[in-house]
């Protein structure tokens, strides 16, 4: 057990899957000698060699096509897209090819690909470097989308993703990379896919969040605890598929819910959670469903991020509004 950052936890997971399964391969732009632009693959080429961890030409569709072909020939690829905004270039290979591989071949050919990519704002990067595109990818059948909120889950979920025989988009929050540390067990452990976690138990209201917003929700829970309001925080962890049961169980207890996401409000994860509740659990509620999300603009340039991304303050306002309904 050691204190590790989100990045160190990810490196740890990659080290374990490379060690465990000789068919795993890490590749992408600058992942070799440079260890990735964020150093997530630091030291892995040195340890496992250029055959297992290697740099590619700078072309996202090519990288993901390479993953498809390697998957077809028995390999377990873990490609990296340097920033999530660059995945626009690879939509066909992800959504048009890999995600439907099992379906089109009735399971006789599959694409066991884990696509790692950083996303999310608050670090003042250049355009296309921070976009939250999970809303895009959660609409793709055959593709899992995993978004850990802390270092412990990041390691366990990444190992589960690589071991999964279907494609997974594993989204790493840029802001969390170095801003958080957890006690991380040495060696292998897994965190299950498709399962939400009750990050904090409470009785008065439920906040459903994922990624970096989970930590904002936890701050709100701390602040409201001082006023004797007990907030339950649910961390979705996998945002496609969504674990509705865990959400329903919580709102049966609290009867109130606020759904939080960093991405734009239109469509996507929060909308899916809201519609699942509206369809199957609306009678558990005694107030409207509250939502906190970024506005439906194009993702802002660096200096606009801090006013655009919803943080604890906006969440607390919405929680109070729903509590006082």
């Amino acid at each position: 057990m050691a204190k590790k950052t989100y990045i160190q936890a990810i490196t740890d997971a990659l080290d374990i899957v490379l060690e465990d399964d000789p068919k795993t391969l890490i590749f992408g732009e600058d992942v070799g000698k440079n260890g990735g632009v964020f150093r997530t693959t630091q030291g892995l080429q040195e340890k496992y060699g250029e055959d297992r961890v290697f740099d590619t030409p700078l072309a996202e569709s090519g990288i993901l096509g390479l993953a498809t072909g390697l998957g077809l020939t028995g390999w377990r690829p873990i490609p990296e897209i340097q920033f999530m905004g660059f995945s626009f270039e690879a939509i066909d290979q992800i959504a048009g090819q890999e995600a439907r591989m099992r379906f089109r071949f009735d399971g006789t050919k599959t694409a066991p690909v884990t696509i790692r990519t950083p996303y999310g704002g608050g670090t003042h990067t250049a355009e296309m470097h921070a976009d939250n595109l999970e809303n895009f990818f959660t609409g793709v059948p055959g593709l899992r989308v995993v978004m850990p909120s802390n270092p412990y889950d990041a390691k366990g979920l990444l190992i589960s993703s690589v071991e999964n025989n279907d494609p997974v988009m594993f989204l790493e929050n840029l802001k969390l990379y170095r801003s958080m540390k957890d006690d991380i067990p040495d060696g292998k452990y897994t965190v299950p896919l498709d399962k939400a976690k009750v990050a904090r138990e409470g009785n008065d209201i439920t906040i459903v969040a994922y990624g970096a917003e989970v930590n904002e929700a936890l701050k709100v829970a701390d602040s409201l605890a001082e006023k004797n309001i007990s907030v339950e925080v649910i961390d979705l962890r996998t945002v496609s598929p969504i674990d509705s049961e865990t959400i329903f169980k919580s709102i049966e207890k609290t009867h109130k819910v606020v759904i939080v996401q960093e991405a734009q409000k239109m469509a996507g994860v929060g909308a899916q959670v809201a519609s699942a509740i509206a369809e199957d659990a609306v009678l558990s509620l005694d107030a409207p469903i509250g939502r906190v999300a970024a506005p439906n603009s194009v993702y802002p340039f660096a200096l606009g991020e801090d006013i655009w991304i919803p943080r604890a303050k906006e969440i607390e306002e919405k929680v109070n509004e729903i509590l006082n309904y």
Partner: protein, 367 residues
């Protein structure tokens, strides 16, 4: 400033057109234009080539018939492209991977899929994709197979398979899609064993080759990736086979990828779904290509050698067509695809939501 331009761009551009003649063995008058390559084929080889082209032409005719009867789904006609398709695929070995485009169904069958499976693929039934061959299903996104072929090639190399490579096809239109360059560039950079084949049949649906690119040849599109490439007479099966075979030998020797552009023509429409070549082609354009028909020239050579006769060919066509009719009967008896099965094959481990949907559809389907 000097009057003379610093760089003579026009001369550089003109130099791009300075390309060698496409490789040919047998011209349209059935004259041998490359005796050395011609002599490398035995009489049996020549007969075998002819049989394959007759088979593909018969497959096309029968499939068009089925299509007119409303018994097919998506079908991309192959008539005219027999030399290009059969010539290249005959250079493949069973351990090679095939990444075909939608017009390359005959190659997929040659590589191990059954005709029944091909018909089921055309109709849009999942059982059409469960062939045992080392192959992807026919690719609809025209550049995608090139990207994937780079990965398959690299996978083969990493697996240590010495006598295997990836064969992949696209058309002239496919070379305009960025993925075709990314695939060639990746394969070149990784020295992956891949044979990229461009079947240049002159038209991407209705858009002529001349509007596709200013490049004088499509073969030279590989040059920027550091890949050797060559144009071949795509109406000459002997040339197509000889070049594909030579490329295969070169690639499996560890030299990295090759690209071949076959100059061919599709006689009919892009697909059976409705484009009308009369809207974008004239008889005057078409006739010279019909005159170059790949079957005519090889048939003449074989008849001169007393290795072939009209009777023999008619008999073969009847046999082939009977087998296609058998295959479609078999396809007719495929079980109906069920929504519950579609849900089950979306993920290995169904999501909780899907489990509910599966139960719902199973209940409906059992009624």
């Amino acid at each position: 400033m000097a009057n003379k331009p610093i760089v003579d761009f026009e001369a550089i551009k003109n130099n791009l057109s300075n390309v060698s003649k496409p490789i040919q063995v047998l011209n349209e008058n059935a004259e041998v234009t490359d005796q050395d390559i011609f002599d490398s084929f035995s009489d049996d080889d020549l007969v075998e080539f002819m049989k394959k082209m007759v088979w593909e032409r018969a497959l096309h005719e029968q499939t068009m018939n089925f299509s007119r009867q409303g018994r097919m789904g998506f079908y991309a006609p192959t008539e005219g492209e027999e030399a290009s398709e059969m010539g290249t695929v005959l250079a493949m070995k069973k351990n090679d991977y095939l990444l075909p485009a939608y017009r390359d169904v005959p190659q997929l069958i040659q590589h191990g899929a059954t005709i029944t499976e091909a018909y089921l693929w055309s109709r849009g039934h999942v059982l059409g994709n469960k062939f045992k061959a080392r192959s992807m299903m026919p690719q609809i996104i025209i550049g995608a197979a090139y990207d994937e072929a780079a990965g398959v090639g690299l996978g083969i190399k990493k697996n240590g398979e010495k006598d295997a490579l990836a064969f992949t096809y696209t058309g002239d239109g496919g070379t305009s899609q960025g993925d075709s360059y990314e695939g060639m560039n990746f394969a070149g950079a990784f020295k992956a064993p891949v044979l990229f084949i461009v079947q240049n049949n002159g038209f991407a649906i209705s858009t002529p080759r001349a509007k596709q690119t200013a490049a004088p040849t499509l073969a030279q599109k590989a040059v920027a990736s550091g890949i050797p490439s060559v144009q071949v007479d795509g109406m000459d099966i002997l040339a197509c086979y000889a070049v594909a075979k030579a490329a295969r030998d070169y690639i499996v020797a560890g030299n990295g990828p090759v690209m071949i552009e076959t100059l061919t023509y599709r006689y009919g429409a892009h697909s059976s779904a409705g484009d009308d070549p009369k809207r974008y082609r004239t008889k005057a354009e078409e006739q010279p290509w019909f005159d170059k028909d790949p079957l005519i020239r090889l048939r003449k050579i074989l008849e001169d050698k007393k290795l072939w006769s009209e009777d023999q060919e008619d008999k073969l066509v009847d046999e082939y067509k009977a087998s296609f009719k058998e295959a479609i009967k078999e396809a007719d008896s495929a079980p109906e695809d069920k929504v519950s099965d579609m849900l089950k094959r979306t993920f290995e481990i169904p999501t909780p939501e899907m489990k509910k949907e599966i139960a719902k559809f199973e209940a409906k389907e059992s009624k």
